[in-house]
């Protein structure tokens, strides 16, 4: 799956589920999700379940760290890396 598509699907999920649809269009690839509290421990379970079901990537719990979950860009990079390592 292309990087742009992964980014778009993750962004769409975050907008829809955690940002009330993001009516102002504020979410960007570098929006700090942890700092703003968009991702908390329960939301993260939901996001990772979505990534597993929709993108087919299981994220091990030790990847639940600040550098991998910092923003949409880092999450996309992690998903890409895990996709490649699974092949």
């Amino acid at each position: 799956m292309a990087q742009d598509e992964i980014t778009e699907r993750i962004s769409a999920f975050i907008r829809d589920r955690f940002l009330d649809g993001d009516p102002q269009g504020e979410l960007e690839e570098t929006t700090p999700l942890l700092e703003l509290g968009v991702l908390n421990s329960l939301n993260t379970v939901l996001l990772l379940a979505h990534i597993r079901e929709e993108l087919g990537v299981a994220v091990p719990s030790l990847r639940i760290n600040p550098s991998d979950l910092k923003n949409v860009r880092s999450i996309t990079a992690m998903v890409r890396e895990l996709q490649h390592s699974a092949v």
Binding site: E35, S61, N65
Partner: protein, 379 residues
């Protein structure tokens, strides 16, 4: 699919059950710290304090399923559920993260002490303002030369009043929310660590719990677990082990309790017959059995998945919620079956209920387990 235990598993289970019954079967919990320390040493003699720790450090070298089976046998043979719980929390919430994340400098000596029961560990996460939500920890760890300076107070740590080691979590980067945590294995004798008196509580008498306060406590870098910022992941890892395997203790309790109920219903006579012949009594016990076996299957499977390296949060949450709810429901049923006798402290029946009630709260409440299951369903 094979539901049978192997010959080795059956043998280990039988040995732990026999030894715990022989050495601790008459154990009456009174909350005496020295008795608790002796209990840990006895548990170590039976091999329970180090079930899943490496053999080279005196542990049993077992996986999650075999650890849960060992704890089940221990919880069944030892009616002092507070001690069994304390030992299991020491092993799963504390020794497991030391096993998997401690630096080479401290890992061996700590594991040796933990496996031998000489070094008792307390898991200190909970704070007055941080229970289910660990996103806003008040305890902080500020990087200083060769380590960290810890400040703040943990409001509840099982084993703390007898602990020589505190596995704790502190905020190292508040801007990173729930992922701004780091994990530490803090020796209890470091300057700046202080322990409150044992908290008075409803049950689990011999699992002494207390507050832990850090005041400008300098923790050398070698006691950091994993990397800075990895605390949340380490905590989730330790909770996966605890939620899956610790509740083996409660399977053991329910086994023992059900056997007592069957024995009582077969012996006690009212209206000219054994009370077990009344369906109101026998069906109640059938439901107790049903709850026990449902919890057992979920728990064994959750542990098996953990051993397979398949992290299944939902399976673990289902097992934890099911076994703890079963323990409380069965505890209430046992009280009713024993009638007035069960209300007397010497029967041990009311104690089983008091020891079971906290199971729905610690290691993540039933409500949080259901949240996890719901999130895993995509809700």
């Amino acid at each position: 699919m094979d539901f049978d235990l192997s010959a080795a598993q059956k043998k280990r289970y039988a040995e732990i059950l026999r030894e715990s019954g022989t050495r601790l079967g008459e154990h009456r919990p009174d909350g005496d710290p020295d008795a608790v320390r002796r209990g840990f040493r006895t548990a170590a003699g039976i091999g329970v304090t180090g079930l899943c720790l490496p053999e080279e450090f005196g542990g049993g070298g077992l996986g999650a399923l075999d650890t849960a089976l060992g704890l089940e046998a221990f919880g069944r043979g030892c009616p002092d559920t507070g001690l069994a719980f304390g030992v299991a929390a020491h092993l799963l919430a504390c020794a497991v993260p030391v096993r998997d994340f401690a630096t080479d400098d401290v890992r061996g000596p700590l594991l040796k002490g933990l496996a031998s029961g000489e070094l008792i560990a307390a898991n200190a996460m909970t704070e007055d303002e941080a229970g289910s939500d660990i996103g806003r920890l008040g305890v902080t760890a500020r990087p200083v030369s060769d380590g960290y300076l810890l400040n703040g107070e943990k409001s509840w740590a099982s084993n703390a009043p007898v602990a020589g080691l505190v596995v704790t979590y502190a905020c190292t980067a508040p801007e990173l929310g729930f992922l701004g945590l780091s994990a530490f294995a803090v020796p209890g004798d470091l300057p700046g660590v202080s322990f409150g008196p044992p908290l008075r509580k409803m049950g689990l008498t011999n699992c002494l719990a207390g507050r832990v306060t850090f005041t400008d406590c300098h923790v050398p870098r070698r006691y950091l677990l994993g990397a800075e910022g990895q605390g949340s992941g380490i905590f989730q890892h330790s909770m996966a082990w605890e939620r899956a395997a610790l509740f083996g203790v409660y399977l053991g309790l329910m086994e023992r309790q059900l056997a007592q109920c069957v024995e009582h219903a077969g012996r006690r006579r009212q209206f000219g017959r054994r009370i077990g012949e009344f369906q109101a009594v026998s069906h109640r016990m059938a439901v107790m059995k049903q709850r026990l076996e449902s919890g057992r299957l979920l728990l064994y499977r959750a542990c098996w998945l953990l051993d397979e390296g398949r992290e299944d949060k939902s399976a673990i949450a289902l097992a934890k919620a099911t076994v703890s709810e079963a323990a409380v429901a069965n505890g209430l049923d046992a009280m009713q079956l024993f009638g007035g006798l069960g209300y007397l402290a010497d029967s041990g029946v009311e104690e089983q209920l008091r020891d079971s009630l906290p199971a729905r709260v610690f290691s993540g409440t039933t409500e949080i387990q259901r949240e996890i299951v719901a999130k895993e369903l995509g809700l």
